[in-house]
């Protein structure tokens, strides 16, 4: 497309865009209004709680979970910058630009928190590494938007809420809502803008996109098995987290439906036809914390945990 895009100043174009994307532009303004000073918030929380006081084994567990978050935030920063560059509509570009600022803040706050935690940060596991590098390297805008805004950001929102609710550590519990509010806005960018891109998909491209989601969801599932013992150390219930995540996905999908109620093309996550399978998978693979489970279920789960380590080693070979 020729540059500069003179149509951005045409009044008929502006009126049409205002009608269609006013909510997207609002994401930018809300983001600017609610921007928080990461340095100030973290230092005040550390002073309020007298620093981070946690047993060594819980610190290690936290580092395992939050290495995923730290590098996830760095990836989200780059991906949102890619989106800001690639998106053509001004309102979507503004929302993505606002996200770039949020992700930069999330990354440095998480880095500073982990430095204050004073524990060695383990390398990224093979599953998360695969998901993030795929989203970083793809040149397909729809893959980046769907993968990052709808799946990874939803997982982040769910995880932040679980960490805050588990009361793992008071500084973190008070820090997480700041992250969660920002991430909810980022999901909003996907919900509001993706339907436009998805409407152009043909059947082959829609099927390819569904396969991509299946791949990401599979990797997230196995990655959670790999980190299970660390979640348990921190008192975080994966059953609860997955259920909350699927509810959020359902709400996201509902937000993307056309006014006539038609599902957007190519979206697999949140599909109510998968509810029963999801319920069984969550309860069988991730029983509620503290629940009494039969011997056969414990045996299979132990096998799954072992297999998750095999898969992790295989994927790390390609990292």
């Amino acid at each position: 497309m020729a540059w500069p895009p003179y149509h951005l100043m045409r009044r008929d174009y502006l009126a049409e865009a205002e009608k269609k994307y006013a909510k997207l532009e609002r994401l930018y303004h809300v983001g600017a209004r609610n921007a928080w000073d990461g340095k100030k918030v973290l230092s005040e929380l550390l002073a309020k709680h007298g620093g981070i006081r946690l047993d060594a084994h819980k610190k290690r567990a936290l580092a395992e979970i939050f290495s995923t978050i730290l590098w996830g935030e760095l990836a989200a920063w780059s991906i949102s910058a890619d989106l800001a560059l690639q998106l053509e509509d001004t309102e979507a570009k503004m929302a993505a630009t606002s996200q770039v600022f949020d992700e930069a803040r999330h990354f440095y706050v998480m880095r500073d928190y982990l430095l204050a935690l004073d524990v060695e940060i383990p390398p990224l596991d093979g599953y998360t590494h695969t998901v993030l590098t795929e989203l970083l390297e793809t040149e397909r805008l729809v893959d980046k938007l769907l993968g990052m805004q709808l799946i990874v950001e939803s997982v982040a929102v769910t995880l932040f809420r679980s960490v805050a609710q588990a009361g793992v550590e008071p500084v973190l519990s008070e820090l997480m809502p700041y992250f969660e509010r920002d991430e909810a806005r980022h999901v909003g960018l996907g919900v509001l803008y993706l339907p436009k891109l998805l409407a152009k998909l043909g059947p082959i491209e829609a099927a390819r996109l569904k396969m991509k989601q299946l791949k990401i969801v599979t990797l997230i599932g196995w990655g959670t098995h790999l980190k299970k013992r660390h979640f348990e150390t921190l008192g975080m219930d994966n059953n609860d987290g997955f259920r909350r995540g699927t509810r959020l996905q359902r709400e996201v999908l509902a937000g993307m439906r056309s006014p006539e109620g038609a599902d957007p093309r190519g979206v697999l996550v949140g599909d109510p036809r998968l509810d029963v399978i999801n319920d069984w998978a969550i309860d069988l693979f991730f029983p509620r914390m503290g629940a009494k489970i039969p011997a056969w279920q414990r045996t299979v789960i132990n096998l799954v945990d072992e297999l998750s380590r095999v898969g992790d080693r295989a994927l790390r070979m390609a990292a």
């Binding site: 599979t218 196995w222 309860d283 489970i293 039969p294 056969w296 299979v300 898969g311 295989a314």
Partner: protein, 50 residues
């Protein structure tokens, strides 16, 4: 490893992990239907904020 080989390898591993997961899910569902004992709850319809 070139990018193409890497992508093929991760796709292969992920596909394998997906099929193993589906097989294990089917196997566990069968055990649940025959032996029972696991706590399976229907999808809750409350909001994600709950």
């Amino acid at each position: 490893m070139t990018a193409l080989v890497k992508a093929a390898f991760t796709n292969f591993v992920t596909a394998g992990m997906f099929f193993v997961r589906i097989l294990l899910l089917g196997f566990m569902a069968l055990l649940q239907l025959t032996l029972g004992g696991a706590d399976i709850r229907p999808a809750s319809r409350e909001s994600a904020a709950a």
